[in-house]
């Protein structure tokens, strides 16, 4: 299936990905990991939940850590342009028989809760509490110096269908991987905010969250994080990297927390804001697709992910295998 044309007139205006809720079984451990090691900033915390933002963000939170018996993902959140867009969104999801609900969320205005056709819990909002800028409070910079949330990557049991659905919502494909044998899409990167992606989809048992990514200033910050994790008890949480992706051209590191939630630390992708920005196609068997420098990703990277609350998973029927490290 070819990549569809960009939908330049989407039914409502999604500005960008905004936040996610990770359910974690050991909140103290997670605080040590996300706050003391990665360097995210606490904007609220109590015994059950911690709200975090990155250094250049002025919205109240990009990551919610919530204590729970099982490590899964509560929701993926997106900011829309206006209150009117929220109403249009409700209309659009209802028209597709997808569940919609207006929910109360701390620090946020009206929030529309829904799910995509695979059951991924989504929420949309126009207003979140705005906080004072801290991007020039350099004393607070710590760990990997995370600047902002960058994207979500999801396992999808049918990437072609994911592209189609999110494409209708106005996400535009910047790069994708084709399985040459079947002609089907094996992975895709789609954006709203003008970078390589707000959301990506990878073929596999899903829906599951493959990772949430944070943007950092330079590759040296990622090297600093590796040195820090390696000498403070987190060496086993390092999964893959550092390296340069062929796709997206970004410098990356993948790490996994105690509950298996994967984080990508990421910098140096490129601007994609033009409406006529052409998607780049990669072949699944191109060894430089994953890592420009040639190193294959480990099996865990292709197989492990976080389930979404209330979303049963199904296997993909596309069985083509990427290149996996021996």
């Amino acid at each position: 299936m070819p990549i569809p044309e960009h939908n330049l007139n989407p039914p409502f205006n999604i500005v960008r990905l905004s936040h996610t809720e990770l359910r974690v079984t050991d909140l103290a451990w997670s605080r040590g990991y996300y706050v003391d090691t990665l360097g995210l900033q606490v904007t609220y915390e109590d015994k059950e939940v911690i709200y975090l933002r990155a250094m250049e963000e002025r919205g109240h939170h990009c990551l919610i850590l919530r204590h729970a018996p099982v490590g899964e993902v509560g929701v993926l959140g997106f900011k829309v342009w206006s209150e009117e867009d929220l109403d249009k969104a409700e209309h659009w999801f209802k028209a597709r028989d997808l569940p919609t609900e207006w929910v109360e969320r701390p620090y946020m205005g009206r929030v529309l809760k829904t799910r995509d056709p695979w059951g991924v819990p989504l929420e949309f909002y126009a207003k979140m509490d705005r906080l004072e800028p801290i991007h020039q409070k350099y004393k607070l910079y710590n760990g990997v110096k995370p600047l902002r949330i960058d994207h979500f990557n999801l396992f999808s049991p049918n990437v072609d269908n994911s592209i189609k659905f999110y494409g209708e919502l106005g996400f535009r494909v910047t790069e994708y991987t084709e399985d040459a044998e079947t002609g089907r899409a094996w992975a895709a990167w789609m954006h709203r905010k003008g970078g390589v992606h707000d959301m990506a989809f990878t073929n596999g048992t899903g829906p599951r969250l493959h990772h949430v990514a944070f943007w950092v200033p330079t590759p040296l910050n990622i090297i600093d994080l590796l040195d820090l994790m390696s000498t403070t008890g987190y060496v086993d949480n390092i999964e893959r990297g550092p390296g340069r992706h062929g796709i997206s051209n970004a410098f990356f590191l993948y790490i996994r927390d105690k509950d298996g939630h994967r984080t990508e630390i990421y910098c140096s992708d490129y601007q994609t804001i033009d409406p006529d920005h052409e998607a780049i196609k990669w072949d699944l068997k191109d060894p430089q697709r994953q890592t420009l420098w040639g190193a294959a990703a480990p099996r865990s990277w292709f197989e492990l992910g976080s389930t979404f609350e209330g979303a049963p998973v199904t296997e993909s029927d596309l069985k083509s295998q990427p290149i996996i490290a021996p």
Copy 2:
């Protein structure tokens, strides 16, 4: 005058700044400077003109160097979302009695030529020839490794009026400097594409181009450029920096070519895409406004600029002085 509300429903959709034409008196010298030293890539050249793009750009050009008897600026170019936006733009400028003209430009589709109320030559287009990506052809990276054009900065004889005019066009203020005595704006940074600015205005004799800026990967690329310029005959073209701006938080360097055209090399500003992103106010007398680290800018930086073709200049009536290096 307070900063106006963001205009979230502009009359037509400007995607981003796109390109400029610099008229230069010694094309060979300018080639040595912009191509061999800064590292911009030639996409077309003959004896009279050189078209250039930066490493991650797929549009045909972001900079045109045109041989001319006088070193001035030919035009500031902007990309709009669609052909329909071009027609809306024509209507809007005509309604304000500003000149409009459809002009032929190589490598571009329909081009609307106009001027702002101060005579700055502007052009708008929706389509420019798209070239093959070169962002992963690392052999081509050279000089400061320029990734993309980032913004224009103009001297304005009345910054409040510039803010008002460009604000109506949908440019949103991210940071500004107030003259505490008069309450007037002394400088402003305004964006379309989600960074700190596509256009900035600085109080002074104008309209003149203060500088065009290019985005580079990290501060180390700027240090590399300084080392290169210092040892290849360009040491006198270094005007200011390196440093960190208080405003925009960007790491910067300013250089000036043989004709006096100023270029900023720039990295590490922040994302401003939210429609409710609040502007940051600075006081003209805050010494960390210009340079977070405290060093004042030289007098030349406040006084010298490039005139626009066909646009006579007037002095500003706002005489407040910034902090100038002794």
Copy 3:
């Protein structure tokens, strides 16, 4: 006067510069500056004194901050190869009628205290307490991530004579500045340990300590320090930089503490270990000598320094002026 031949058979074997004692009038302030901001590690402290080491050092201290009524310099310390070298040193200084004394120092073995002909207090030792390595305890890295003490720079009222005296001790000139009019040396950089210098001399009222320097990993650490100092109340302590020296090719920053003691933060000089390594000559009027990129140093940098305990100063009779920022 020409630069003398390297003395390849010095009277005793000085391994490297080792430590200095800075007398400070506000120990709490100095702790905030050297420990919390620069990132040096405390190895001992009480109400009167703080001992510090840098991240890759295993000797007990490279910097002693001692509370005192006046901000001056207590001593410059050097490590020699063996106990036998200490005895040779005593003999050598005595033979020149310079004062010698065996003194008790905490954390150190036998210490020979003496003075150079201008009264600079020097001490030599072979053994200092060795501490556990911390260079891989990345959690401790902080501030500018100082790795090791690198060199001392002194104002000298007669640089030719300083070169001669320290040259006899085996310090080898790597670079020097000549005053073209008189043919006299205006500044010199001399090493024992295989970098550009352990000690440098600059023409001026002396003897005074111009600065003590610390080595850091990359220019980005210096940029981080500038950001940190600028936003934690230390912006006025930034004196000069960042920049690249013509001499030594090092990337530098100069900062001054509350008592006027100057520190250079420094990286990226070169290896000079060969006994036949030739000195590089610079002209005092070469604008790229101070800063490869052309920016002149401020007047304070040429005039201000720290006196040594018990060492009266005299003016230099060489009145040639370097290039000073207006």
Copy 4:
């Protein structure tokens, strides 16, 4: 066997490693690799041989590429302090019944050719032609911006014996790996010039050259090299890295040329100049020994190396296995 005491009074004074000759079967290919890609500078070339130096070196060459039918290693070269040291060296090797010969070498003074007890061809000299400095000719910097040769690493069939032999020559152990079961040394790092090593030894079939290493300014230069090699046809020459070694704390990359000669690109080890600098012991089974971040080295890294001209190899009798990537 415990690590022997540092020999602080060696029989002659070796200043540092200096150069090696690699025999290569395709000189044009090797020029593309070492000159156009790594960025070493040609100081002489003809159809049979290319002499190279790195950016801050003033000696005529650190690497000789010589066309030959078989890709092996011609010699390992070392600079000694004085002509007198050469004579002492001759005496010392003769006294051990090792072959000695005075040979003619272009660009060098007297050269003593000999072999260590395992047949490794060594040469010592005091004088090599000195060239003009190029460390500030930034236009010449290219590829990974190699600054200087840093060390040799050899496979040794008996590391304990290698330590003993080179220890007598004054090489001092900075770090070593012990096989806990047998108490034998499995690897050792030994220096003369004040860094972690001039020579290292790794248990294995030998003598063979494991790699020659070059020092570069920062980890970002290594990332640049990876990007360049990956997009200019050298992706298969990337063997291991980038990463941080536990041992030496250095940031590293390993690459192998067409003949199998391995190069390490290396930065950020530490100063070891003190005569009482203590060696750090690592356990062979410590997964952070090889790579602080936990990633194991590939099998090729432990098995492949370059033979020395005229030196037959033997297997090691120490069969303990390091951790190898699956």
